[in-house]
Symmetry: D2
Subunit: 363 residues, 4 copies
């Protein structure tokens, strides 16, 4: 990649002289807490700054409600939560801000020189913002110089897709040589994907809610950008047609997706199994700390993957595929699973930042 710029000192890929200080915007929500948890003890990053809305700013992080199992990590717990003001925060920032504030806040930080690695939806479809899944489209980082020039930012903004999109895009990227053309997918999404407080228990327990606001549109559009081609001055969306139906089910973590896909190229079942099993990308090549050994794991048992048993494979960073079989309507159908808070959100952002660090795009 020829995307090194004066504003970043390229470091030798995969090695860092010392840990990089990082911060988290929106550290108090479910994804923010997952970021804090994953960054605790991270080999490359040192969590040095926590930002949140006015309501939480000024308090010790450890005084705020912690929604993940156990207690909040001790280091962050002692830290004071800062307001969302650029300046004193570290160069590299993760954002788990709510969509209501992420749009302006993230732009303000990027303008002020920060590298913002965001999980928020606001800027994902901005033509100048990489919608990054490092195994799939690391070259989309070449958007950054354009982004800086056109937006007039001295920093940069990189996003990861919606949780279900990450999982779907990884599975499709593995099948790229067979040219997926049309997809009909149905998701069965976990409760933690709605954040906290999220879905009320009266709606969730023993029930299914066949609607998640805006989710189907995200899957149908973001997947095409992730798989899109960098054209030199932008990303051409992948031509696949995608239809999604999204449902909330009473599962704590792990989104399951049924996929029916038509492929332009003929393929034997073994070809597809090999494609899933052999799929790999730059994170694996670079040995990024959060990279799963195999981004896609195919499970042979007839009743897998299952959220409770498989969402945490390879620390929640792998997606699992199962039940590949011929489809009477499309070409093939299969089942897909990923951990929505990890590979679908906080872990996705951290892997993105690791790629930036390995490529020398952060200092």
């Amino acid at each position: 990649m020829a995307i090194a710029e004066p504003w970043c000192a390229r470091l030798p890929a995969g090695t860092l002289a010392a840990k990089l200080d990082v911060g988290v915007l929106g550290a108090t929500g479910m994804v923010g807490q997952q970021l804090v948890s994953l960054l605790d003890g991270h080999p490359w990053f040192r969590l040095a700054w926590l930002g949140a809305s006015e309501r939480s700013a000024g308090r010790r992080y450890g005084e705020l409600p912690w929604r993940l199992p156990g207690a909040s990590p001790e280091g962050p717990a002692r830290r004071k939560v800062e307001t969302l003001t650029p300046g004193r925060a570290p160069h590299l920032l993760f954002s788990a801000l709510d969509a209501g504030v992420a749009g302006e806040a993230e732009a303000a930080f990027a303008r002020a020189g920060h590298i913002v690695v965001s999980n928020a939806r606001n800027h994902r479809m901005d033509p100048l913002v990489p919608l990054l899944v490092p195994e799939i489209n690391p070259n989309h980082l070449s958007l950054l110089p354009l982004q800086r020039r056109k937006h007039g930012w001295s920093g940069a903004l990189i996003t990861n897709p919606n949780c279900s999109t990450v999982f779907l895009a990884l599975a499709l990227a593995a099948l790229r040589e067979f040219a997926p053309e049309r997809l009909v997918v149905t998701t069965l999404q976990a409760l933690s994907g709605a954040g906290y407080p999220g879905v009320t228990s009266m709606d969730a327990v023993g029930n299914v809610i066949p609607f998640i606001d805006g989710e189907e549109e995200k899957i149908e559009s973001e997947t095409r950008k992730v798989l899109g081609r960098f054209t030199g001055d932008g990303v051409a969306l992948h031509p696949a047609a995608i239809s999604a139906q999204t449902n909330r089910v009473p599962v704590v973590h792990g989104h399951l997706v049924t996929v029916a896909v038509s492929l332009r190229e003929n393929a034997a079942r073994d070809d597809l199994l090999a494609a899933f099993g052999n799929f790999s990308g730059r994170p694996q090549g670079l040995g990024l700390p959060s990279a799963p050994v195999h981004p896609v794991i195919y499970l042979d048992q007839p009743n897998r993957p299952q959220p409770r048993l498989d969402a945490e494979r390879d620390r929640g960073m792998a997606v699992c595929v199962g039940r590949l079989r011929a489809c009477p309507v499309m070409s093939w159908k299969f089942v897909l699973l990923g951990h929505n808070l990890i590979r679908g959100a906080a872990g996705a952002a951290i892997l993105n930042a690791e790629l930036l660090a390995a490529e020398g795009l952060v200092r």
Copy 2:
């Protein structure tokens, strides 16, 4: 229908001089208990006989475990459970037998002169056995004379489809004028559909199992028979191509189905809404006791239907549709819900029997 035969005295449709005695084969399972519950106080039928496997035969029905809420109905509770031997049982029998024994037992009862209205899967795809959904294919009862002749039975055997198939077939029948051609469906099925003991709680709680043995094949084949055309000497399967993916979710009752369908005929959304809302059939025309006022209810709220809130609409005999919207891949997509134990099993069989009674096919 010209299907009256010497073996049945046609009664005036919709009126019965006295209640008909009926029996239940397989009265101890989940569907059998639901049959017993629905037959308690039925206006046309009097539950006069309970049959079950050797393990239960000889005991009072009320001594056996009752899995439905409350206590078992008092009348049946006092009755002794009989063995599965034709002869002393009433002419009209419901069957909720396990597939392991239903095949031979049901044939034996039909051979011995009984009218067997079955929920078991064994004979559903027999070309001579009606796979009956009274709103859709009452004329498939014309198979009965052929069935009697070819099988040499003095009785008859009528089946209802698999639970998810009933719901899907009703929705498609409502859209028949628009010529459904291809369907991609995903089911989210309730635990009670697996019977008792069924799914273990360690697999079910907070989890999804993306596999139900044999279920996808049933949906893909049975739906085409239900919607098929009676040709004079058989049923020509409907030409639609159907792809199903089936999942077990931690819901007690109510199967939800996401449907993406391509229609040969163009249709505006209002046309389809009208088709759902106006759909009606012979049970409604005859005023059968278990007939829902509207077999298909369209729900306008964006997050409906939901199993916990909508499965029991019209005593569990209506199916609910919601979220009708254009599909980027097929023509339309929507969500469908039905009560698996009622409209999908016990209630389906009872409605079938009510049609037989109204048509004078039982005595």
Copy 3:
């Protein structure tokens, strides 16, 4: 009872010339909706008025979210929601107001001449307000003349206890002759008891929350008032010492209570079983429409009562007891279950109002 007063025309018990118009304060919450549902088709009462906070007032009731299964009843759905202002509302009002507003609003309606039958906690422990469970303490209605005089109200205020208290008090009342002295109880309470939105699903699914704010105090104090003795000018609390631990479990409806109780009087197990089975009170004597045939149902099976199977016994108005056995620490232990929204809230209020009507205390 010598509690007839000029302000109420005593009607012949158990008969009403015409249906009484009634209203519901707080008709939009979970208990309010349950009241509306139970009053739809009630033989004595006609729902003629719906009141709610400013946020909902002025809208058609049917436009507001309905949280119970199915659709809201048609009659109420067409009605406009009124503000919480005394005057045009019917004489007899049910209150399901939030505790935040119930205190003042209910007093204002009682002052203005309405009979307020409340489920709210605010006035329950007011020495002049009956905490009524009609099978137990109908004579506490004798507080009303005192209440009117001291508070200067032309109407009246009657309350029902907290849900778990109703169930516990009914079980203890059945055992009254054996003189319960000390109780250690633990509740496993359903989600619907927290209202809507209530408990978030991330806290509820696959989890237990061992804390319900204020609940233990209510059980420990309200039970003693319900079982207390009317002294002529007040209610002397029952002397029993009660210790409660309350938990929220992922159950939709039905609170289960484990009870360990020491009795002053020796009793054989059969004596206690007889006491439960024979327990009856004024609602049964008067044949009140919502009265359960047996207020307490003892279930013999070793693993009952269970919320999903037993909470709706006798339309949710009976409580179930099971597993009575000797206790190594107290005298006896047993398990208790009731439907929190019905016998524990809306149904309790309606039964209270039916007693008032039968006693001629409303017009």
Copy 4:
């Protein structure tokens, strides 16, 4: 301890020259799998043998269904499952056998010279068998010479208590100086405690089952043995009277217990908090690998402990206490939580074996 015997070479406590080979009896059940999982990578023990019933014997362990998340550990997966025959198995064996076979099989292995560290219930109340919780009663190991002599075994048998008993006994041991006299406890137990397949989902989802066969008796008796005094030739049961009510709730892992306890000695709340916080025992002193830093963790938040958030504290080896408050009937009440598969079963057995190893009682 003067319990060293010729049959065991005492090793320096806390150090092992090389890993000890160990085996698992009953390796295919839920607790057996948890043992295999915890032993994978254990610093002192090397899993060298897997035994199971005839049904599984002879197959590769990895071919058998694995019920825990992810895949079975690679080493054990390659191993062949052996029959339950003494002889070729390692000296030290863990037993997770079903009660149906554990009684005879464990005795046979102990007779043949093996040290059997069992989780099964069969021999727990045998007066010569230590019911060991290493923080509480390590001196009960002094029963072993008696056991060998009277039973004529060249090996030995050590048991850990029932899951809920471990948690209760740890909490009571922490309060020992205040002399607990009477306890009323109610458990809310997780599904995994019933093994696999265990509880059917129709009984579990959205429900509570107020009955667990034999569980109350175990809690009431085993707790008194664990806390009992070694008398030189046996264990005198602790005199406390204990009353337990046990319930199954839809939680995957983690048993919650409400405890009301009367103490003979007066105590201020701070005294009790200090007693919980300071509680420690021999595993902590010896630095056993599986020993929790603090066996009892007191959680200050008013709504804790919760199974989903707290069961895995300190790798599932600590128990959590919360909500300590004065009790109107007994002296104090509080809430207690432990991980049933770890501290309550497999982890308990491993900690027991670590104590044996540190004390030089295994070779």
